[in-house]
């Protein structure tokens, strides 16, 4: 099986600081990391490869430094890594991103046909989750989003059985291969990389493509030009006014609160059960 994982380099939003003056992210304050959901996606591909055999490739769109996350993916166990990097991709929204990545995937499929594409549920810097399903549409393969378990790969029928998270609970889906999955964090634990992988990753040279290396590209659909959405304005969320401060000692405050709550008869009633 050939599984391709789409990965993205993102600032670590857990560590990132907010510039209090401009209210924007201070990107320099945060290290760039492999999007955590994508780490789970690579891990899942590696797990499936161990199960049924095959190859795991990763592909990313980003600046040249993004080869760092390709190395990271190789540490987790990916075999090959492709980076598409070109000024023409800059400023892409989700529609233009899914277009560029689908062109890269088509090119990879020429090297080796693809049986499955895996993406993280979303990237933590944009939180949209729209790129995965977008790629699936462009490749005309079924998307299965919010996957929490790949239960079974039935190779001879070219089918997979998947658990997909819902608002409440989950569903079991059978999908034909090739298909595209987007995975939740609970799908697996990202394991510590074994030493041979670390050594391989350290030496690994990513395959880097520009637009010119991709085929049948409609340049109007790339980057800023190919992005229907733009950021209009940024503003601080309206600050609410706040309510009543209860005054006095701890006892007085608690008593006051009880009185106020008991007045709210429409919300809160005391029913005599006996």
């Amino acid at each position: 099986m050939h599984i391709v994982v789409c990965v993205k380099q993102v600032p670590d939003t857990k560590i990132i600081k907010i510039n209090p003056k401009t209210n924007t992210l201070d990107r320099r304050s945060a290290p760039a990391i492999l999007n955590p959901y994508d780490a789970h996606a690579v891990q899942e591909a590696v797990r499936l490869k161990k199960l049924v055999g095959g190859t795991v490739s990763v592909v990313s769109m980003g600046p040249p430094q993004a080869t760092a996350i390709i190395k990271k993916s190789v540490e987790i166990g990916a075999d090959e890594g492709y980076l598409i990097s070109d000024r023409a991709f800059a400023g892409a929204d989700t529609l233009a991103t899914s277009y560029a990545l689908s062109k890269a995937l088509e090119r990879i499929a020429k090297i080796k046909p693809i049986d499955m594409v895996i993406c993280g549920k979303h990237a933590i810097d944009g939180d949209t989750g729209q790129v995965g399903p977008g790629i699936a549409r462009r490749l005309d393969i079924p998307p299965v989003t919010n996957v929490i378990e790949v239960t079974e790969v039935i190779e001879k029928d070219k089918k997979v059985v998947i658990k997909r998270k819902l608002t409440s609970g989950y569903e079991i889906i059978q999908a034909q291969l090739p298909c595209l999955l987007t995975v939740e964090k609970e799908i697996n634990e990202v394991e510590y990389s074994p030493l041979p992988n670390m050594i391989r990753a350290a030496k690994y040279e990513s395959i880097i493509w520009t637009v010119a290396d991709l085929e049948n590209v409609d340049k109007v659909q790339l980057g800023l030009k190919g992005s229907p959405t733009i950021v209009g304005k940024m503003f601080s969320p309206p600050k609410p006014e706040g309510g009543i401060r209860l005054e006095g000692t701890a006892n007085e405050q608690v008593n006051k609160l009880m009185d106020l709550l008991m007045e709210k008869k429409e919300l809160f009633t005391l029913q005599t059960t006996k």
Partner: protein
Amino acid sequence: MNLSEYQGVWVFIEQNEGEIEGVSLELLGAGRTLADKLEVPLAGVLLGDGVRSLANQVVYYGADEVYIIDHPVLKDYRTESYMKGVIELAEKYKPEIFLYGATPNGKDLASAVATDLSTGLTADTTMLDIDLENRLFEASRPAFGGNIMATILCKKHRPQMATVRPKVMKALEVDHTRIGKIIEETISLKEEDMRTKVIQIVKDVSKKANLADAHVIICGGKGMGDLQNFQLLYSLADSIGASVGGTRDVVEAGWLPHHLQIGQTGETVTPKIYFAVGLSGAIQHTVGMKNSEIIIAINKDPNAPIFDVATYGIVGDAMEILPKLIEQFNELKNHTGGELSYV
């Protein structure tokens, strides 16, 4: 693309086994405001198997029109079948704005539809408005970890689409006197052509009963100090029949599992009463709880931002206040021999 051909506001009506999701009713409320500003009709888009009977409800909650596709293949949600129906409707009737709930299925569907229609889609919005002068839809969402809002525009493509977070917009009061137009379309779908099959749907009732449906939530923050002190929250919860949740810091400390985290990267909740105890009220937290009916904040720092969203604020040490509150509630119960209940 001739933009003026596109008119009307649409809401995708998500239904599960014949029940309309709350977020769809909320979006009919929000969509009503947008449609009134633009002076265009508001339509619900209802797909499923045997869903015709739900159309009235869509009208009662604010729609002028309901587009229906009723087909056995649409019994359970699947991207490929639902997408096909929605795209055919959108291409034929050309709405200018199209809203979906930011649920797993709503986001999945909207992403696929936007790709095929080559139009813009804004994810997880929390504020919607219209720029009347330019007749543009302004879809705003928290950006950069939520400290700032970004308004996303889609100037040259239609429909302008957005997914909207559940529990942020308000549904209208149901109005049984409303009358709407029902437009039913057919679609050619064959089960044999489907590449995905839903084998089983497993509902999880435990989690829902915990936070999303709780009437009263006690939410603790890092200010509870340690896991042992955190247990005080359960005593209060027991005395008034509430559920316990926490901030991200609390979840990261391992005091609570992740599904009980409230906020931007956790659950959004709207209980009748929300106790915010020993938590600072970071914006990423308050986006997930600020629509609660009554918010009671207990914090020893009088400048904590949680007081800005609180209905009632108590400045004090939680370890001192909580036992007194618990005592009062227990006394109240013992005194009258009754149970507290919430309407």
